[in-house]
């Protein structure tokens, strides 16, 4: 049997490791079935949490494990759960963010398609930790296959008593709703996601109030990424000390990195946080080197919203702190590789088109600014750049940075700023000569 998506993973290596765990069964075609999942130790953590732990013990365990959000912002998961006002008598909600739309990112999809119960089990444990009895998965609408697989997994879970009423005879009830989105990147931003889930346009909300205090239907709500949640059962099963021993001191655990672009072996690979980025790109187990053995030009380490690194900066750990020291971010963990035959202006034109298209339009700097940027950058790429344009772009970027309601504005700007800083000559060449210094090969073979 073959998988729906042919994407490459390192499941074989993970299966041999005592430390890696998320991808252990993703090459087993039966793993999406509940019986196989349970035979592989599934739902043990759910039973353990619900029958032998108190909600605050679960929160403490996850907090002590040092798990940080895998959706992009890297906020400590256990601490976030603690923000739910304990005195509130309103219903509480857990929402799993499965909107996965940050360019370069394709990891949550593998979990959902091949190991959907892993996500559901993590959601159940998280729900118990925050006192939630109705949890949601918000899956981007384009992921039709994922939606079907997750729906089926939910049905199996109900049938075998992992969800529903009086779970494990504890009196605890938990329901699940699988909700599909409508195709909008901004709905991955948690407050826009909540608006979308309520049936409104997917526009971001002004914070405060934060969702933990006033989220879905104005009730306390926790939004967590698929991978963050799928990590939780492992912490409950093996303990926070074990989890903390993985990765680096401040970036604990392991993480799935989506590797794409000009590498020989693109794929989704689970490694411990802190794994060397250069090795990740070149090692035969992962990237296997640059396509066509060309020279490396640059790398985006954490999804399209994170700043570029130059080749001299990639001897660095894939963790939250190390990437900051070289001026970028871990983001969603999507490593995009560019070889020497890539025009930087062309690259940025693709990215700014995306952010302009996806801006929800609520705040002026982002709505107008991304439009100006797209027009100027497209003009430069098409040989119509004028002297002073690069400086104008920089000034528009400065006027967006930090002045918007949600982080999409910053996300649009950061790759541009770093592309100008790192390759200013190339921008200048474009303006002076009306053409690319290096022409990107866009041939399809």
């Amino acid at each position: 049997m073959s998988f729906y998506s042919p994407v490459r993973t390192n499941a074989a290596e993970v299966a041999k490791s005592d430390r890696l765990h998320l991808f252990k069964y993703v090459e087993d075609p039966q793993q999406a079935n509940i019986d196989t999942f349970v035979a592989h130790g599934g739902y043990v953590a759910w039973r353990k949490a619900l029958t032998s732990m108190k909600p605050d013990e679960v929160r403490e365990e996850v907090k002590n494990a040092g798990l940080r959000g895998r959706g992009g912002a890297g906020f400590p998961t256990g601490i976030k759960w603690g923000f739910i006002p304990q005195a509130s008598t309103k219903p509480r909600y857990l929402v799993c963010n499965a909107d996965e739309s940050e360019p370069g990112t394709c990891k949550d999809r593998v979990i959902m398609e091949r190991d959907p119960h892993a996500m559901l089990e993590g959601m159940a444990v998280a729900s118990f930790a925050i006192g939630c009895h109705l949890m949601f998965v918000y899956i981007r609408g384009e992921f039709g296959h994922c939606i079907d697989v997750v729906n089926r997994a939910v049905e199996e879970g109900y049938a075998q008593g992992y969800f529903g009423k009086n779970i494990f005879d504890t009196g605890y009830d938990l329901d699940v709703i699988v909700h599909s989105g409508g195709g909008a990147y901004i709905c991955g931003e948690e407050t826009a996601l909540l608006n979308s889930l309520e049936g409104h346009k997917g526009m971001s909300r002004i914070r405060p109030p934060f969702p933990a205090v006033e989220g879905l239907y104005a009730c306390p709500t926790i939004v967590n990424n698929v991978e963050s949640l799928a990590s939780v059962p492992h912490i409950i099963n093996r303990g926070s000390d074990w989890y903390k021993s993985l990765g680096t001191e401040k970036s604990c655990g392991s993480k799935i990195f989506s590797l794409s672009g000009h590498v020989k072996q693109p794929g989704n690979y689970e490694v411990e946080l802190g794994y060397n980025l250069k090795d990740f790109i070149y090692s035969p187990e992962y990237g296997g080197g640059i396509l066509g053995d060309k020279k490396l030009k640059g790398v985006i380490p954490g999804g399209s919203s994170t700043p570029f690194l130059k080749p001299e900066d990639i001897d660095v750990g894939l963790d939250y702190e190390s990437l900051t020291t070289v001026g970028s971010m871990l983001g969603s963990g999507a490593v995009i590789v560019f070889h020497e035959d890539t025009c930087i202006v062309w690259t940025i034109m693709k990215l700014i088109h995306f952010y302009r298209h996806e801006s929800c339009g609520k705040c002026t700097p982002c709505r107008e600014g991304t439009g100006w940027l797209e027009r100027m950058i497209t003009a430069i790429e098409h040989g119509r750049g004028r002297p002073g344009d690069v400086e104008k772009i920089e000034s528009v970027c400065e006027n967006i940075m930090g002045r918007t309601i949600c982080p999409l504005g910053d996300a649009a700007v950061m790759p541009i700023q770093s592309a100008i800083k790192n390759w200013r000559d190339e921008w200048q060449y474009h303006i002076d000569h009306g053409k690319c210094q290096v022409k990107t090969n866009t041939e399809f073979v």
Binding site: V7, C106, E142, G199, I336, F354
Partner: protein, 164 residues
Amino acid sequence: MMLSEQSIARMKEVVTKYPSRKSAVLPALTIAYRQIGHLDDDIYNEISEAIEIPAVEVAEAATFYTMFPKQPRGKYLIQVCHNISCALLGADGLITYLEQKLGIVKGETTPDNLFTLISVECLGSCATAPMMQINNDYYENLTRESVDRILKELTEQAQAEDEA
């Protein structure tokens, strides 16, 4: 009536799942879109009746999202990802190749109403680039050869359905 009884029944069932009726707007739009292939004001009205949410609110949500187009499309909607990871591996060339094969330009539908070609943002399939989505399905790691095969299969499938 455009909506089938089945679609209406599913919408009415979905509504009951949520703590708030309005949350059923997106699921209802999805059900309608999957059945009909596009949405318009009349369909908004029908959805509005089925889930008992004002039609303006249905329309407001529908027009915000890219997945619910107002124009009818061909039997097969081809959506090529033109975002960065795919672009690095030939997405622009893939679009040109499809344009040539289908004899249309991006945004158009073939005269036999079989294929509509558009390009879209990242579809979460970046490590299997270049890729395209046709209706509900993903086609990944594309080459000229696989594109030829896929188009041929879909054309044959449509012919077989016509004859049946």
